[in-house]
Amino acid sequence: MRLSISHDTTYHYEDQVRTSIQYLRMTPHDSERQQVLSWQLSLPRPVRAQVDPYGNILHVLTLDEPHESIVIGARGQVEIDEAREAEHESQSALPFLRFTRLTEADEALREFAKLESRSRPDRSGLIDLMHALNAHIRYVPGTTAVETSAAEAFAGGKGVCQDHAHAFLACARSLGVPARYVSGYLFTDSEDHLASHAWAEAWLDGAWYSFDVTNCLAKPERHLKLAVGLDYLDACPVRGMRRGGGIEQMHAQVEVAPMIRVQQQ
């Protein structure tokens, strides 16, 4: 399937921002499952692309002229091989066994992981775990924030895709399975889920398998991968800092569409 993506992010600031810097992971790269046909990132000034520690394409945008808004646009087309379930990689997956603040497995998560997977650190065990997490953490936007940890979301029983992914990572790692966070786009027909999405991958039998807790999907379908990392902080599309600016208003508009529909318009 060929997906067409258009993603515009606009930041408006109450006051003038003196300087700002952003790490942007908004450019997909080729893999076994996806082929990038075209991709264009429009930024306030030209920036050289580099590869970050996880192999993601990173743009570091530094602005040192005063500004009141930042507009970032990403557009492109990507061919997805829907038949492919898992992706191979030459780098060792072992670094993805470690916990981070956001993915720390407390006693409750460890117990839950053991119980729901019935201590099977394999694909069927993790699929059962995924279903159980989906039932335990209900999808309720606005109940958690970017700094909410897996343990906090699990205890609260509510969250969004980021919390689902973190809770899954905490559980998988506690079972001794390397697992990583994935940030990307999802083409969806329904209205309740944003097209920007997060899910998890677990390292089983020498390949990365997808687990989308929010949609109870153990097989990626219309998922386009942008970046991976130990948790949200490593893989999120935008991570930035600024001097000045006061209150920030962010507006994002994402459209993911199969190519055929774009051509009909």
């Binding site: 810097i21 520690p53 570091v60 780098q91 072992l94 670094p95 066994l97 930035g240």
Partner: protein
């Protein structure tokens, strides 16, 4: 339990060792009142110079003077040459280990170190994978902690490859001794150490491919326990002392704000932990680092000394493998001994440790500063039981070692002169070549019988002499 300690000054029969004889004569000839007066003078001078450290775990954040003892720790030159060769060998192997770990991982493929133990280790930095560093150097500045067992043989207690501190005390202790007792240095040849700041600057400059790189010292700020040392080293080297807020990144280059505009920075001697270096890549709450620094570092536009990710090599769970690293990378036999170490993550070794807690020293694999540690022979029953519970809950977080006797050195205490336990931290500099100034920092446990020499735990320091024998 009868224990024999190796005393640095006196042999087993009570006779003064040859390399201490000149000092012993001087000590016998110097009136007690004069010594007492000089000791008060030393305290005053240290106070005035502001040589203090902040004690952690103290609610007031009290600044304390690190007690300075006027009886030096003296090492015969022939013995020092062995220690020097041993430290250099060790640090070379550790740097080669780091370069290997972040590239081909030959030592893992050879089955010498289990992959999971290094790759899943918190000190292992994914950000360093495949990154090429100038001269393949990771730990430009290393502190190797040495102790001596009952028979006087040297053991490495730990390698400090992140941001080892204490070198300012080494230098200030010498200055103080020369000022208070110049006659001692006229009576015998003590190897000089005052060229350390020059060697450090030379090492930092040679870590960059540029001819004359701009070097800065990055400090977490004046609330850090070692702030005095950061300021001291910057001043001695004649380079800028900066905090994160003085630096900024633009287009993958690092700049320093100056009164005459932005100036590019090429080498950062950073005294800030990995987690705080770049809030956009590591701990997002860090106000101490520089946003964008990691991307700039990975682009090869700035050198960090020490490199990111050296912590995986000085982790106590990796320590047991250093002897094998020396054999693997250098095809040499280790010159300095490693303390036999039980790895609690191995069930058989854990049960041995649990059965012998009273005799062992238990340490956290990630700990430093002597905070998370049990000294079995000196611990109460409650402390031992507390550690037993911790070990059972998280065995992989601990190692255990037999209690070493630790050598003693005569030290001024309230009731006169008495033996107190000491260690030694030589500072190893790796640049174009690997070098050490003679001696290092000697720390002394001032409490009678105590084996913990950390300044945060009530330890003091002594001047360290290497003398011709």
């Amino acid at each position: 339990m009868a224990r024999t300690f190796y005393d640095e000054m006196y042999d087993a029969s009570g006779a003064v060792r040859p390399h201490y004889q000149a000092f012993a004569r001087w000590l016998a000839d110097t009136p007690d009142e004069l010594l007492a007066q000089r000791r008060r003078e030393a305290d005053l001078l240290f106070h005035r110079a502001g040589i203090t450290f902040t004690l952690y775990g103290d609610d007031q954040g009290t600044e304390r003077l690190i007690p300075f003892d006027i009886i030096p720790r003296s090492i015969p030159a022939s013995e020092w040459r062995m220690v020097e060769r041993g430290c250099i060998q060790r640090v070379q192997a550790l740097n080669m280990f780091l370069a290997d770990l972040y590239h081909d991982q030959r030592i893992i493929k050879a089955g010498i170190i289990p992959a999971e133990q290094v790759l899943a280790n918190e000190g292992y930095q994914i950000a360093m994978q495949g990154l090429n560093l100038h001269r393949d150097l990771y730990a430009h500045i290393a502190g190797v902690d040495l102790v001596r067992d009952g028979d006087g043989s040297y053991y490495v207690l730990e390698d400090n490859l992140r941001t080892p501190s204490g070198v300012s005390y080494m230098l200030e202790d010498r200055k103080m001794m020369m000022r208070l007792f110049p006659e001692l240095f006229a009576a015998q040849r003590v190897a000089p150490i005052d060229h350390y700041p020059n060697l450090l600057l030379d090492t930092l400059k040679s870590s960059s491919p540029l001819d004359n790189p701009n070097v800065v010292v990055l400090t977490p700020g004046r609330f850090n326990s070692a702030y005095f040392e950061h300021a001291f080293l910057a001043r001695e080297m004649g380079v800028e002392l900066v905090e994160g807020a003085d630096l900024f990144v633009r287009d993958d280059k690092l700049f320093m704000r100056t009164t005459s505009g932005a100036k590019q920075v090429d080498v950062v001697y950073r005294r800030l932990d990995d987690a705080f270096l770049d809030p956009l890549a590591f701990n997002p709450d860090s106000m101490l680092g520089v946003p964008g620094l990691l991307a700039c570092y990975r682009s090869g536009n700035v050198v960090l000394a020490n490199a990111i990710g050296t912590g995986v090599a000085d982790d106590k769970s990796i320590y047991p493998y250093v002897d094998d690293m020396i054999r693997f990378y250098l095809s040499e036999e280790p010159i300095l001994k490693n303390v036999p170490t039980f790895q609690c993550r191995k069930p058989a070794e854990l049960s041995h440790v649990l059965a012998n807690l009273e005799q062992l020293v238990v340490k956290e694999t990630q700990g430093s500063g002597g905070y998370g540690m049990l000294v079995g022979p000196a611990a109460t029953k409650a402390e031992i039981e507390d550690f037993r519970a911790r070990l059972i809950a998280r065995p992989e977080a601990y190692i255990a070692q037999p209690t070493l006797c630790l050598s003693t050195c005569p030290t001024f205490v309230e009731r006169g002169i008495a033996p107190r336990h000491i260690d030694l931290r030589p500072f190893v500099l790796s640049g174009k070549e690997t070098r050490i100034v003679p001696g290092g920092l000697t720390r002394v446990a001032l409490r009678e019988g105590s084996l913990v020499v950390n300044s945060s735990q009530g330890g003091g320091t002594k001047d360290t002499w290497v003398v011709e024998d």
